[in-house]
Structure formats: structure tokens, C-alpha cells
């Protein structure tokens, strides 16, 4: 570990990509990393998608600007393993087997459950069908176009599961949004901090760690997860095979997976995301219990989309989404 730290410090820089500062507390994580090791972090394209991260790796290959590490959705990770270098962090054994590649080519880092965030001016919402009411005109927004954004797709899938659909067939979810559109309640604009603050998108389907009042920037913001539905999604870390700063990249991974009180896992927890080592940290006591207790309650067994289910959903959306809400 010490040799790694020394080599990384000598490299002095780390290129990261698509890490918005308010997403799962990445702002604090980057600052903490720089403070601890003195390594400068270049953060490119903060609102890029996972595919753009991989594209950047390809187009900037061989330059000093190429991303060193990636934080991407599972679909993109699985499709691009040829670009990554395997690496097993020192806390490898604390990570559940199902959440890492056996050869270490990718490993999940944090996740959350799909939830609905809303402005408290609507009272309390307990079920999705309430959103079809007349006071929600143009109010309900997703985070991104479901045909291209992971969070958008999972938002539709959550509605799908809440309406009685299954993970293999997203049609009920699309129908729900069709109904929303017919009632005039569907917002064609993706939710961002600015639109929420301006009141343009007072109801947002998004990961629970992105529906925190602190992230959203509006103090009267409430969150609920539909009962019986716990649609979870984890992102994955990968290291660029041709990283310009390989030692810094690996040190970053060590930092992210460290169970220390100010290590990556607990910092993600403070950002409202569920770190992948959560179970292990709860049993060995290194978890930040105050932050853990603030996570929204989940009332059903967690469901995670398998790669095939995700692809099927994506294909269905590609063919039917525009018709349903256009």
C-alpha cells in the first residue's frame, strides 16, 4: 500500500469523469482524496453519461487527458470490459460475490433504490396513482430520457413494478406514463436542480440518493418509495487499461473502498447512497450509523435488473416510448 501511495503521489494527478459534485457526495469525496494524498483531481464532463465516459476512454486513448477511472452503469460496464484493467482492492473480501467480477475487471461501488421525490406543497403522496390527479399538471419528471439514461429507464421500471408489471416486461410502466401524459401531468423536461428550484418539475422519479433535500436544494422536499417495490441499481467502478496515471487510479479505488470513518464508503453513505460494503461494515462496526439510519425505508425485497432484463426494457422503450409520451 505504501509503495502505491508513493507511486501515486509521484504521478500527482488523477483524471476522473462524469462525477457531479452533488451526486452521492462526490464533491466531498474528491476533496477528501486530494486533502489526504495531495493528488490533484481533474474532473471532466460532470454531467456525462456512462457511455460518454467509455467514449472518452476510446477517443482520448494515449493522451494525458484520458480518464483513469470510470464510474459507470452495469450495462455499459459489461459491454466494455476489454477497455478495463483488473484490480482487487484490499477490502475485496468485504464485497458480496454477486457485486463484483471474479477477475476484478469491474466492481460495484454504491447504489440506491428508485424513489419519488416531491415538493411538500402536494401534501403526502403514498401511491403512484395519486400522481394522475389534476393538481400535478406538467409536474412529473424523470431524470433523463429513458431510452438513453439509466436513471430514466429505472424510473419507468419502478412505475412498471408498482403497477403490477414484472422486471422482464416494462410495458405497464410505459402505459402508466402514457396515462400521465394523457392527463397532462408528464413533464417533458428532465429534472435538474434548476428546474426543481424554479418549480418546473415538482415531482421527480430518481434514485433515492439524488432525491435528498440537500442535493435537490429545496428544503420542503419529501421522498417516498412505492410500497411493495424496491428497484435497486448499483454503479460499477473500473480502471482504464491505458490509464495515464495507473498508480493514482488504483489509489483512488483503495480510497473509495476503504472502510475508514472518512473513507469512500462512509462518504457515499453520507451522500445517501448505499455503499457496496454496507453489510460487512455493519457487522464490523465501521459504518457511520447516523448516516445509515437516514436512508429511506425499503418495504420489499430488493429487485435488481439483470443485464438481459435491462436490454429488453431498453429495446421496448426504444420502440414505444416516443409514441407513448410524444
Amino acid at each position: 500500500m505504501n509503495t502505491l501511495v508513493a507511486a501515486a503521489k509521484q504521478e500527482g494527478t488523477l483524471n476522473v469523469i462524469a462525477l457531479p459534485p452533488t451526486w452521492a457526495n462526490y464533491g466531498a469525496i474528491i476533496s477528501a482524496f486530494t486533502a489526504k494524498y495531495g493528488i490533484k483531481v481533474n474532473s471532466a464532463l460532470p454531467d456525462g453519461t456512462s457511455q460518454q465516459e467509455v467514449d472518452a476512454v476510446k477517443t482520448e486513448n494515449g493522451t494525458a487527458k484520458a480518464p483513469d477511472v470510470l464510474d459507470i452503469g452495469m450495462a455499459v460496464a459489461l459491454a466494455n470490459t476489454s477497455l478495463f484493467a483488473p484490480y482487487e482492492v484490499s477490502t475485496w473480501s468485504s464485497i458480496p460475490t454477486a457485486q463484483k467480477a471474479p477477475d476484478g475487471i469491474w466492481v460495484q461501488d454504491y447504489g440506491g433504490f428508485m424513489a419519488v421525490g416531491y415538493s411538500s406543497k402536494f401534501g403526502t403522496i403514498t401511491s403512484l396513482n395519486q400522481l394522475l390527479g389534476s393538481q400535478f399538471k406538467n409536474a412529473v419528471a424523470l431524470n433523463g430520457n429513458p431510452t438513453s439514461a439509466n436513471a430514466g429507464l429505472n424510473g419507468v421500471m419502478m412505475a412498471n413494478l408498482a403497477e403490477g408489471g414484472t422486471a422482464s416486461d416494462i410495458s405497464k410502466g410505459v402505459d402508466f406514463f402514457s396515462k400521465l401524459k394523457a392527463a397532462g401531468n408528464f413533464s417533458p423536461v428532465s429534472a435538474t436542480g434548476a428546474t426543481i428550484k424554479a418549480g418546473t418539475t415538482p415531482v421527480v422519479f430518481n434514485w433515492d440518493y439524488l432525491n435528498l433535500p440537500s442535493y435537490v436544494g429545496v428544503s420542503n422536499w419529501k421522498v417516498f418509495i412505492p410500497s411493495g417495490v424496491a428497484l435497486g441499481g448499483y454503479y460499477a467502478q473500473a480502471i482504464n487499461k491505458n490509464a495515464p496515471h495507473p498508480a493514482a487510479a488504483r489509489l483512488w479505488e483503495e480510497f473509495l473502498y476503504s472502510q475508514a470513518a472518512s473513507g469512500g464508503q462512509n462518504l457515499w453513505l453520507e451522500g445517501g447512497a448505499r455503499p457496496v460494503e454496507q453489510a460487512a461494515m455493519q457487522s464490523n462496526g465501521s459504518i457511520n450509523t447516523a448516516a445509515a439510519s437516514k436512508l429511506p425505508a425499503v418495504s420489499a425485497t430488493p429487485t435488481f435488473l439483470s443485464p438481459t432484463q435491462a436490454t429488453d426494457a431498453a429495446n421496448y422503450l426504444a420502440a414505444n416510448w416516443a409514441k407513448a409520451v410524444g
Binding site: S148, T200, A310, A313, A314, A319, V325
Partner: protein, 288 residues
């Protein structure tokens, strides 16, 4: 000092035997080289990649994908929006250009409007869309336009905002080129204003007007940032779909599809620009 004579185009007669004459077009090589590397080459790469498979082999059958109803839908969407914004931009822009041209050539108003046009023709993207959103969107400061989120009306209005200044910039020289003497001549021969426009001004300006409209059309075709900021939950037009094909996180990413759509756009643009070039040739005859 002896004064050397020059030929008609200002070339000096070459001293015999001293230097082989270099053809004049060589002087334009830097320009053409630059444009070749940074404009023609990228376009060429896109066109070639459109006809390939992800693994690099040729797949000319990709072209048939352009007939796919989903793809056709995007092109129709693009055409609708471009037609709406270019026609409205052209008509209103022409009216504004005429108003500007018919005033004092040194006046404040003319300067204001030309400077504003230079700036606003570039103004677009996130800030423009957001400005309209806060003006006439669901929580609009001015009023709530129920059609604001309807395609192509809402976005058409936003596009018109930068199409009109572009029209002013492009069309004003043509109106300025209408010599005052022609108007006077036709009046002295007894024509009314309507007759002047119908028989003299109109036909003279028509090629320039149509050419400018085509330019506006092509400009709207390629616009992207503005519509993304307006509504990005649904891809209405080809550039949005190209972006989706390039950056999809859910496994639908396909660079070759993106290139194919881009190829379709390049073909469309080629048609439009040929029309523009032909019209320019007609317009040049009178306004030189």
C-alpha cells in the same frame, strides 16, 4: 525609377528564364488544405463509418436502415421543425430587414438592430430555452402558453428567435442592393407600390429571399443544444437521436447508427445547399 507595366489582372510579366510560373491557384492552397482537414475529412469519416459494421467491415445494407419507420419519424420531425422555423424566420426577418434598410443608413436604429442581429443569431442553447421557459412555460412570468411543450410549436418559436436575426444578417445586403433609382424609375413610369413589388422588387429579391430561407433551413437542421434544453425526454429530431445513439447508457449505443443518421443529414443538407447555390447564381446577376 522605371515603372513596370502590369497585365489586366495586375500580374507582372514574368522575367523570362528567371522563375517557372507558378499557377495562381497555388495561393489558395492553405485555405483548401485547412478546410479539407477540419471540415471535409471529418464529414468523410462520418459518411464512411455509416456504411460499416461495429467490427469494421463494410455494410452497405446499412443504408436501408434509413427507411426504417422510426428513423423516418425523426427525419419528418426535423423537417417539420426546420420548415416552420425557416419560413417564419424568413418572412419576419425579411419584414424586419426591409424596415431596417428603408431607414437612415447612418441612424441609431439601424446600428442597434444590426448589432443585435449579429449577437442574437448566435444566441441559443440552454440559456435561450430556459429564458423562454421562464417567460411562457408552465410557471411563466408573462403567461402560460399551453402549446409551449407541443412539438413543433413551442420549439419552433424558440428557433425563430435566432432565425430572424440570421435572416436580417443574410438578407439585408440584398435589400440594400435594390437601387433607389429602380424604385424612382418605376414610380415615374406611374406604378403603384404594389406594382413595383410585384414586377420589379419582388422578382429581383426572390432568389436572394429563397436562398436565405434555405440557409435558415439548413441552420435549423443542425441545431441541437436548444431543443435538448427545451425537452429532452423524447427525441423528436435527428440530432437528438444521434446524441442518444452516441451516449446511451442502457446498451442502445451504436456509433454506426449515429453515423448513418448523420449521413442522412448530410444528404439532406447537400440537397438544400445545392438549391441555395443555384439560387445565388440567379440573384448575383442583378445585384452585382
Amino acid at each position: 525609377m522605371a515603372v513596370a507595366t502590369t497585365t489586366k489582372t495586375g500580374a507582372r510579366p514574368s522575367r523570362s528564364g528567371r522563375r517557372p510560373s507558378v499557377p495562381a491557384w497555388v495561393g489558395t492552397v492553405p485555405f483548401f488544405a485547412y478546410v479539407a482537414v477540419f471540415l471535409l475529412l471529418p464529414t468523410g469519416i462520418v459518411v464512411v463509418d455509416a456504411l460499416k459494421n461495429p467490427n469494421g467491415s463494410w455494410a452497405f445494407s446499412n443504408i436501408s436502415e434509413l427507411g426504417n419507420p422510426l428513423v423516418r419519424g425523426y427525419f419528418i420531425g426535423s423537417l417539420k421543425l426546420c420548415l416552420l422555423s425557416s419560413v417564419s424566420g424568413a418572412v419576419f426577418g425579411a419584414i424586419l430587414a426591409y424596415a431596417v434598410a428603408s431607414g437612415n443608413p447612418d441612424g441609431v436604429v439601424r446600428r442597434l438592430y444590426i448589432s443585435a442581429s449579429g449577437v442574437l443569431a448566435q444566441f441559443g442553447g440552454v440559456t435561450l430555452a430556459f429564458a423562454f421557459l421562464v417567460l411562457i412555460g408552465p410557471v411563466g412570468l408573462l403567461f402560460h402558453a399551453s402549446w409551449y411543450y407541443d412539438f413543433p410549436w413551442g420549439i419552433g418559436l424558440i428557433y425563430t428567435y435566432f432565425q430572424i436575426p440570421l435572416m436580417v444578417l443574410v438578407f439585408l445586403p440584398a435589400i440594400d442592393g435594390l437601387k433607389v433609382q429602380w424604385r424612382e424609375a418605376s414610380e415615374n413610369l406611374g406604378s403603384s407600390a404594389w406594382q413595383y413589388w410585384r414586377y420589379v422588387g419582388g422578382p429581383l429579391l426572390a432568389p436572394a429571399f429563397l436562398g436565405a430561407t434555405l440557409l435558415l433551413f439548413a441552420n435549423a437542421l443542425s441545431a441541437f443544444a436548444t431543443i435538448q434544453a427545451w425537452e429532452n425526454q423524447i427525441a423528436y429530431i435527428v440530432p437528438q437521436q444521434i446524441s442518444t445513439a452516441l451516449s446511451s447508457e442502457v446498451g442502445l449505443s451504436n456509433v454506426n447508427v449515429a453515423d448513418l443518421l448523420a449521413l442522412g443529414m448530410v444528404i439532406l443538407v447537400a440537397i438544400v445547399m445545392t438549391g441555395y447555390a443555384l439560387l445565388q447564381r440567379r440573384a448575383a446577376r442583378w445585384l452585382r
